[in-house]
């Protein structure tokens, strides 16, 4: 009896050891194979993930790698998608060749030195199109609200309502700057920033360029517009030509004055500085996107004695412009410039709508600040300590 018991115990130990360590001749499959539709995409993609085989570790049977296979049905013909090396803590793969709406089954093959083992087919995984990004619902609501304000006040302006816009010193000085250049017989320099035409600040700058060009044409001064991008140059040429046409001075338009310099940031700055030192403009406009070169431009302009009007929505460059320029349009003033200079009711209406959007944001900032303060305090009521913020929780 004791001998049989000893043999049973020994046999049991061997079985346990074999199952724990991997019996000689078997390779355990990869763990935890999951297949899911790739979230928030346009379809045609499935995410596959799996854990390494328990044998994929030092001291175990050697795992050379993994293979991911795919088929249209669990028992269908499988096609290999990708190979992966052994030794990673986790594996994932995005199958971007899946057809939207089609079912797929996946399996992972563990490749060993002498053998391989497959997981059971996992699926079906179906790639679907997502038609809405739920985490951006708040952005959608905010965008619709802001757009509603803007469109409402544009409609009000079209209906003839008088709209007030506060005085912006930098824009009031545009005419003064152009007049000064005309009196001194020197050109006006307009720098539309260093971004391409797909940047909204550049577009805002080009809309102001049109107004400035009209004034320059009427005053019979010269206008120089050095551009850092070819598309900006093409657009600027069109804007200035139309402005001269509108002012009744098409003969005075000089296309060579709206020129492309270079795409390189500091090469462009060197070129503009060279134009300033040679042409000695009496009025400089720096409107659009600027980076490190802002102070170089502004200081060079100051050195030649030009009146300088700058405007950008880059918070990091505003201090330089405020320091070195005579007038600076800060942030939204740059975008309001077109409406301010033209005084067109529809454009003014959009400014008013944008201001009401600011009021709503102000309300939420204040409400958030008050709530954050309240949430800091604990109050003891009837022996129970509660956080004040809990009083506002709807149950």
């Amino acid at each position: 009896m004791a001998r049989y018991a000893f043999l049973r115990i020994t046999f049991l130990c061997l079985v346990v050891a074999a199952s724990a360590a991997g019996a000689e001749g078997t390779l355990r499959a990869a763990d935890g194979l999951t297949v899911t539709d790739t979230p928030l995409d346009a379809g045609g993609s499935v995410d596959v993930a799996w854990q390494p085989s328990p044998d994929d570790a030092a001291g175990k049977l050697k795992v050379l790698g993994y293979e991911l296979w795919r088929a249209s049905s669990a028992t269908g013909t499988y096609t290999k998608l990708v190979d992966a090396d052994a030794g990673l803590a986790t594996y994932s793969y995005t199958d971007a060749t899946a057809v939207t709406g089609a079912e797929y089954f996946y399996k992972v093959r563990v490749r060993g030195e002498k053998m391989s083992t497959d997981t059971a087919p996992t699926g079906p995984a179906v790639s679907r199109v997502q038609w809405f990004h739920p985490e951006r619902l708040n952005m959608l609501v905010a965008s619709i609200l802001l757009s509603a304000f803007i469109l409402y006040y544009i409609a009000q302006a079209r209906a003839g309502k008088e709209l007030f816009i506060r005085r912006i010193a930098g824009l009031e000085a545009v005419q003064e700057a152009v007049g000064r250049a005309t009196e001194m017989g020197k050109p006006v320099l307009f720098v539309p920033g260093i971004a391409d035409v797909d940047d909204i600040q550049t577009i805002a700058a080009l809309t102001i360029l049109g107004r400035v060009a009209t004034m320059v044409a009427e005053y019979e001064a010269a206008l120089i517009v050095p551009c850092i991008r070819s598309l900006v140059m093409s657009t600027a040429q069109e804007v200035v030509k139309e402005a001269y046409l509108e002012a009744g001075r098409p003969d005075a338009y000089r296309p060579e004055n709206i020129r492309y310099l270079t795409d390189d940031q500091f090469g462009y700055v060197a070129g503009v500085d060279g134009i300033m030192m040679r042409e000695k403009p009496a009025a400089n406009f720096y409107l659009g996107t600027f980076y490190a070169e802002s102070l170089i431009l502004a200081e060079t302009g100051h050195a030649i004695g030009a009146i300088q009007i700058a405007g950008t929505a880059m918070p990091s460059q505003l201090p330089f412009f405020i320091t070195a320029c005579d007038y600076t349009l800060i942030g939204e003033e740059l975008f309001a410039a077109s409406a301010y200079l033209s005084r067109e009711p529809r454009l003014l209406g959009s400014i008013l709508g944008q201001d009401w959007g600011k009021v709503v944001i102000l309300f939420f900032i204040l409400a958030g600040a008050v709530t954050a303060v309240i949430a800091q305090f604990d109050v003891t009521i009837g022996g129970y300590s509660i956080n004040l913020a809990q009083l506002f929780v709807v149950r």
Partner: protein, 261 residues
């Protein structure tokens, strides 16, 4: 139609790009639109290059003021284009890669009358290969294009960037004169922040000094509260301005960028 077509294109493209932010299904369409922009911009480079050459050629031809600079520009333009497109490179082929070296004296050098052991002796350099010109090497590291870019272009850009140091000093000198209340505030806060940024600012603080009067603490509060609040306010205003301007352009209310009122 000359005015309506660009407005229609702007509206449709803008609408797609806005909607794809909320509708993932439109992401592929949006990426195609953005790729088209890249292609158009690539062709526009040729327009810009032609404009650059034409303007400077006219300056040279009519001997306008400072026309020699235009010669330098066009020469540089041509050199970079030729070197870049041809993939010019100068390589040494054949010979040994080991340059001349200084080694220990050997029997041979001693027999030739060289100084005795313990003294370093110049070893005759292995012959270098002949210098050959190769084309089609692209613009990889080591080619002539890369050399010109690295040893001419970069230093010149660095030089322009370095000018900032002098311009910051001159702008600060003008801005920090305490003539008005705002200028005084600017001067005081700039002084505190500069003092807080350097180790010397905290070096002189005695142990009994209140922590809320140390340059470090004051600097942190100015930057974290005042500066951050100001920047965020500007960003909020600018962002609203961006939305408003974009809406005006999409709806065709703002048409100045097309060259009309």
């Amino acid at each position: 139609m000359r005015r309506e077509l660009p407005m229609i294109v702007a509206f449709v493209a803008g609408l797609i790009l806005i909607l794809q932010f909320f509708i993932p299904a439109l992401r592929d369409v949006s990426e195609s639109v953005q790729n088209w922009v890249i292609v158009v911009a690539a062709f526009a480079i040729a327009v810009g290059a032609f404009n650059l050459l034409r303007v400077n050629y006219m300056k040279i031809r009519f001997r306008r003021a400072d026309w020699p600079f235009s010669v330098v520009l066009i020469a540089g333009f041509v050199v970079m284009v030729v070197v870049g497109l041809s993939g010019l490179d100068f390589v040494r082929e054949g010979g040994s890669a080991v340059p001349a070296a200084v080694g220990a004296p050997t029997a041979a050098t001693a027999a030739a009358g060289a100084p005795t052991a313990g003294t370093a002796v110049a070893v005759a350099a292995a012959p270098r290969g002949a210098l050959t010109v190769k084309l089609g090497q692209g613009i990889e590291v080591g080619t002539v294009f890369d050399w010109l870019f690295t040893y001419l272009m970069f230093p010149m850009s660095g030089t322009m960037f370095a000018l900032l140091a002098f311009f910051v000093a001159s702008a600060a000198y003008r801005a920090f004169r305490a003539r008005t209340v705002e200028a005084t505030l600017l001067l005081v806060s700039a002084f505190i922040v500069m003092l807080g940024q350097v180790p010397l600012g905290s070096f002189w603080v005695p142990a009994w000094w209140p922590f809320f009067l140390t340059p470090d603490w004051l600097k942190d509060k100015i930057m974290e509260i005042g500066n951050t609040a100001g920047q965020r306010a500007i960003l909020i205003g600018a962002s609203l301005g961006v939305v408003s301007t974009s809406l005006r352009i999409l709806l065709g209310i703002e048409r100045s960028y097309l060259g009309e009122e």
